[in-house]
Symmetry: C2
Subunit: 343 residues, 2 copies
DNA sequence: TTGTAAGCGTTATCAT
DNA sequence: ATGATAACGCTTACAA
């Protein structure tokens, strides 16, 4: 018994500790700990006493101490390739909505579409001993893959579906979305179909593959009508690529864009240059971003359930973190073609 | 000496500890700790040995243990009112860029423009004993304000400038930006000027105030020409409000929008309804979002230095966290009027 | 400049 | 069902 609590000891936070709560409640610290964590072995009566004491003292656990003692944090790491795409913002929001109420801290890592950066983030965040991992897609370095596997940390993959059907994932088939795009355009009587994609991540590529596959199947595929660039997707870039495509291949009568911002840019340049959409060329976007429905003409797009993906992935992870396994690890949330004025 | 390291002890992480690094380097744990933290009292020779050992073992500190022992985390809490506004994304990115390399973990809180939610987030995050705080603007609950003050945690305010000039802040004068908008429109010969704002946060209001003030000064102010709504800002809403304003006040010849997305929506509806911009009505946006320069007509806007704000605020905070004070706490980064085709 | 001892606040273990 | 004890991995205080 050296001194009283508010000693101005720099090693102390000044906040009430579990010990103090326990003393006030007249129980041992460990009982207080159990009571607060909702561990069933504690008598209801004591639980109440402890909760009251905690409330009275305004007690909040010290996450550092908890993490140290239990070798487990309360944090979940979410890695996304971009934040400038509204797409991922909505997903993140949904994840927060599910995880925060359960007491989890969400650590967000943006790897800017770089596999190496993703690996680094993963390595760094592993130091925090996260309880769970939420990763985007399946395209990562071998080393990152191994880290995840070796860590044994529960992990759910978002956005795409595991072809192997072995990993826990929540998303939709990117390939199939590409096929749908092609079939829609073909059904509109289009015959010279182009694909324009930027930010060549795995999913953009997969979409392109689905698109190509459907065209080949219809005997309409022309490899010249594919314009891909690793530059980051944006409205400005979309306009630029659109003009480039129309200049090189004036006979193109439909374009599928890997992202709505590209398609929006195309619509804008089409207007500026008097190119009639959809009369001369149909424009189809992807993701159905909020502005798309308001473009002139209103942009047709494939709407993706990114909010639902975030929510379901987080719930999925909650199950895994609770130690349960999941019967059906692959959750396909599908997508929806929104036909508006541009196709 | 009970057992060897990889005992499958559930209380242990399996990762190498500082002790092991110290042993390998042939020094005491505390020396290893000091060496790794770059504390100057350690002999250069030993520092090298320790670093080598750490590297060899692939050592990474346990943040929980560090936080517990030092009563200080390595985390910085950033609170923003929204993530769906690209504006804050860019700011966050810059903050990350500055803070992560220095070993800080960035905790992001989105309070959805709700003062109460901000207060809650603050309370929750305080449990993590953050080393620093990055807050948006000055409009918060009294209780939140007190928490920040009482905590003594270094804090930098972003986006606006403290009228009292006492708080550390990095931003620009929102009022002055509103004035600039009005003066520009007036200088273009406009006489019936309207202001349309959504998501009525403090800064939108301040901008409106500056706008109003300049109009009054020029004897051009008409309170009927202000359209404010608490609904969240979006392209769709902008179009809607624009049409509403033009229907109610067909004589309006210029509109300043509190946000670019609103202005973009206005441009789109103007086009759809054959309202000529800027001939019939000039449209001026705010923030200069990426798509604005590509609109038809290209949107004039007030460009804000959100990336620089994030960077400078983070650097500012770094200084404070290092225990230094700042001579000039108020950093005004200004703004820039971009005149394009819509005004 | 380096090391010893102790403690940060919590939870796992094992006994009762 | 509850508690005593030790331990998690690191850093502060102080001694050498």
């Amino acid at each position: 018994m050296t001194s009283s609590k508010n000693d101005k000891n720099p090693r102390t936070t000044g906040r009430p500790t579990l010990n103090e709560v326990a003393r006030l409640a007249g129980v041992s610290p460990i009982t207080a700990s159990r009571a607060l964590r909702g561990i069933s072995t504690v008598a209801t009566e004591l639980v109440e006493k402890v909760q009251q004491a905690a409330q009275e003292l305004n007690y909040v656990v010290n996450p550092a101490a908890r993490a140290l003692a239990s070798a487990q944090s309360q944090s979940v790491v979410v890695l996304v390739p971009s934040l400038s795409n509204l797409l991922f913002i909505e997903t993140l929001e949904a994840i927060h909505q599910v995880l925060r109420p359960k007491g989890f801290e969400v650590l967000i890592g943006n790897y800017h579409y770089s596999r190496d950066e993703e690996e680094n983030l993963l390595r760094n965040y592993m130091a925090y001993q996260p309880r769970g991992l939420l990763l985007t897609g399946f395209d990562r370095t071998e080393s990152a893959r191994r880290m995840v596997e070796a860590s044994k940390i529960p992990c759910v993959y978002m956005m795409d579906l595991d072809p192997g059907a072995g990993l826990n994932c929540v998303g939709f088939s990117q390939v199939s979305a590409g096929e749908t795009a092609a079939r829609h355009l073909i059904s509109r009587g289009r015959r010279k179909l182009a694909y324009i994609g930027a930010q060549l991540d795995q999913r953009t590529l997969l979409r392109g593959e689905g698109f190509r596959r459907a065209l080949q199947h219809a005997n309409l595929h022309d490899p010249d009508l594919e314009l891909l660039t690793p530059r980051p997707s944006s409205v400005g870039l979309g306009g630029e690529l659109f003009l480039q495509m129309m200049a090189a291949h004036p006979q193109v009568d439909a374009i599928f864009f890997g992202n709505d911002d590209l398609a929006q840019g195309a619509l804008l340049e089409a207007m500026r240059h008097g190119i009639k959409v959809p009369q001369q060329v149909a424009v189809l976007g992807f993701n159905d971003l909020p502005a798309s429905a308001h473009m002139v003409p209103r942009l047709s797009s494939i709407s993706t359930p990114r909010e639902a993906i975030g929510r379901r992935a987080a719930e999925h992870l909650l199950t895994l973190m609770a130690g349960n396994t999941i019967a059906r690890p692959v959750v396909d949330l599908g997508f929806e073609l929104k036909v508006r004025e541009s196709t």
